[in-house]
């Protein structure tokens, strides 16, 4: 089929890149936004615009709040019938479920505290299973006041899941699609280097004044090669994070008995009880345990704050408390976990030093998940992600430029469709993202289901951009540039400025006030303004190129006409 290895690689690179490139574009762009997901959360929920806090007193503030949390209604309605054994009696009503597990989580970038309760199913179908109905709450740790659940954390609960699951949760299909795309990305990187290996001799070349096909290929190769380590490592570590998920889920199918046995052995070895004793008992002071854990960390020369705290088997003789350190000062996601007896408050277990393999794994996943505190590296990651997005986008444009003449002569609409889809995934995605931010500022905070409507605006505007891209794409068939690129750039620029102005009007936070005082909001505003300026520049540039293309297209059809007259 192919006369050379290089041709085979070119085929692989072109067709797999084209089909999965659209997914990769979404992954790269929302990955770049996810670097600052917490900052986007602050922008979208103005009530949470204050400095990050350390975890407040558990006994005095958090415990009473956790005791008042109710199981989530949706979770109860979906999962309770599946977990409950009807032969033992009717289902326990939602509000009467007993708590089994409490947890609280915060990071150095989170002013808010996220907490949750795992409620026990008293008469479970499978007593060995993980029988929990959940209830979560986000609070302001300064006052203990609950923040309305209806407000969507756009950064960490929409853009971030978009990055790894496309927010398509049906049977977790989104995660699988992104996984396949990531796998293809690895293949595309290797095959790309093979196709363009001669390019190493002109590594730094970009010729913007050459014809579009040439200069776009330059940019594609350049952005692919300069950030090759980033592209490779992020794709690889992304796959690694989900490795146990992408491989057949054997631990819960064929190996289920072994998995359960391992849990028992582990519980024996660590001294952390696997099951409840069934004897109700009062719990010791959690704050005292937190103090002990902090003291132990300081002794080990790594003083730190609490990042994650979990109480297992709440109010039971077997209860124990796990306290993990917030890992903001290093790459690896290290918890230095301390486990205490919940009744006596004694230290049961301190996690031993990790093996070299575990350390490597933690470094690799940690460099991708970036829980560390390092604003400079965060921006470098944004740079890497956006360079990747340029690489993918220029790949689409090269595909179209290379084929549009041939397709026009054959009467094929192939390049027209690819161009329209490229417009949708490049400028259309930007418009959808910024529309969501505008909707966030326009819809009233107390609106019921606000988060839902924000998502409707996101998908709706993206859909409109798709229609617009196809409507305007006929230009490609006539050897011209689709005006949709320029029009959507302008729309994006307008909406981005609107988002900044609306933020000012609705919250009173303008740049003069936030810059140097509250970077999370100032950073989002500034990024929007800079993106808007770039979009305007791109639109003007496209206008000039469109005019040139019109002249060329006229020449082209004149030649055609002459040729057909013979």
């Amino acid at each position: 089929m192919f006369s050379s290895f290089r041709q085979a690689m070119a085929w692989l690179h072109t067709w797999f890149g084209l089909t999965l490139g659209f997914i990769l574009m979404v992954v790269f762009f929302f990955g770049s936004l996810s670097v600052f997901d917490r900052e986007i959360d602050r922008w979208s929920i103005p009530e949470t615009r204050f400095e990050p806090q350390v975890m407040p007193s558990f006994d005095e503030m958090l415990l009473p709040i956790l005791r008042s949390v109710e199981p989530n209604e949706e979770d109860y309605n979906t999962n309770m019938p599946l977990l409950h054994d009807t032969s033992q009696g009717p289902m326990t009503p939602r509000t009467e479920l007993p708590a089994d597990e409490f947890w609280a989580y915060t990071t150095h970038r989170d002013p808010v505290l996220i907490m949750g309760v795992g409620f026990r199913v008293p008469q479970p179908l499978d007593p060995e299973g993980h029988n929990h109905i959940h209830g979560n709450i986000t609070i302001d740790p300064r006052t203990g006041k609950a923040l309305p659940d209806d407000q969507l954390k756009i950064g960490s609960k929409f853009f971030y899941p978009m990055h790894f699951s496309l927010n398509w949760n049906w049977n977790r299909i989104g995660i699988y699609i992104v996984g396949i795309a990531a796998f293809i990305m690895m293949a595309a990187l290797v095959s790309g280097v093979i196709i363009h290996r001669k390019r190493f001799r002109e590594f730094f070349t970009f010729r913007p004044t050459k014809q579009t096909q040439r200069s776009v290929l330059d940019l594609h190769n350049l952005t692919g090669m300069v950030a090759l380590p980033f592209h490779f490592f992020f794709t690889f570590t992304g796959l690694l994070i989900f490795a146990s998920f992408f491989f057949f889920p054997v631990t819960h199918t064929q190996l289920e008995p072994l998995h359960k046995y391992h849990e028992m052995v582990e519980a024996n070895e660590t001294g952390l009880p696997h099951d409840r004793a069934g004897v109700p008992t009062d719990m010791a002071s959690i704050d005292a345990m937190v103090a002990k854990a902090k003291q132990r960390w300081a002794e080990k020369d790594m003083p730190g704050e609490v990042g994650f705290l979990q109480i297992n088997h709440v109010d039971d003789a077997n209860s124990y408390v796990s306290i993990y350190r917030a890992g903001s000062d290093r790459v690896a996601l290290v918890g230095e976990g301390m486990h205490f007896n919940g009744i006596t408050g004694e230290l049961i277990r301190e996690e031993p030093p990790r093996s070299a393999i575990a350390e490597t794994e933690e470094f690799l996943t940690g460099l991708h998940l970036q829980h560390f505190e390092h604003w400079f590296l965060r921006w470098l990651y944004v740079f890497g992600g956006l360079v990747g997005a340029i690489c993918i986008a220029t790949g689409f444009i090269f595909f179209v430029e290379k084929r549009k003449r041939q397709h026009t002569l054959q009467g094929s609409s192939g390049s027209q469709v690819v161009d329209a889809l490229a417009v949708t995934t490049v400028t259309g995605m930007l418009v959808a993202t910024v529309s969501m931010l505008v909707a966030n500022r326009l819809l009233p905070a107390e609106m019921v289901g606000k988060g839902y409507w924000e998502q409707v605006v996101f998908w709706g505007s993206w859909g409109v951009m798709l229609l617009h891209a196809f409507w305007r794409s006929s230009a490609v068939r006539h050897m011209r540039i689709s005006p949709a690129w320029r029009e959507q750039s302008i729309l994006f620029a307008v909406l981005a400025v609107a988002a900044v102005i609306l933020n000012w009007i609705t919250t009173g936070d303008h740049l003069l006030k936030t810059a140097f005082h509250y970077w999370p909001v100032a950073g989002v505003d500034l990024s929007l303004l800079v993106s808007s300026a770039i979009a305007i520049y791109a639109a003007r540039f496209l206008k000039r190129r469109e005019n040139v293309a019109v002249h060329k297209a006229i020449e082209f059809s004149a030649q055609n006409l002459e040729a057909s007259r013979g």
Partner: protein
């Protein structure tokens, strides 16, 4: 504050490194000299590469001075990409900015 100084120095070091490495390639050498027939001699190519790689090593040391080693390696790798992109941009629109590096070789035709 110290780490910010180290990062800025590291940015310059990686830029210098990438600039030297780019000049060791005949295509980019010609771009900067503006002379179609000009080529770096073998010894010039070698010294450009030595200067290039050693600047990159210096940049790594600067990164290590600023951060925990695990973090420093990441910063360094990302700076390599940033510098490569930066030099490519300079070679496209501002080639003459790289001329000072050529002065090291003091060849009459280049001046």
């Amino acid at each position: 504050m110290v780490e910010i100084v180290c990062w800025i120095a590291a940015i310059f070091a990686t830029m210098l490194g990438m600039a030297s490495l780019s000049l060791s390639l005949p295509n980019h050498w010609r771009q900067v000299t503006g002379i179609e027939t000009s080529l770096p001699s073998r010894s010039e190519q070698l010294s450009l590469r030595i200067l290039g790689y050693s600047s990159l090593v210096v940049a790594l040391l600067l990164c290590l001075a600023a951060d925990h080693p695990t973090m420093a390696v990441l910063v360094w790798v990302m700076l390599l990409s940033l510098a490569a992109k930066g030099i490519a941009t300079i070679l496209t629109w501002r080639q003459h900015w790289l001329k000072p590096i050529l002065w090291l070789f003091n060849r009459s035709e280049l001046n």
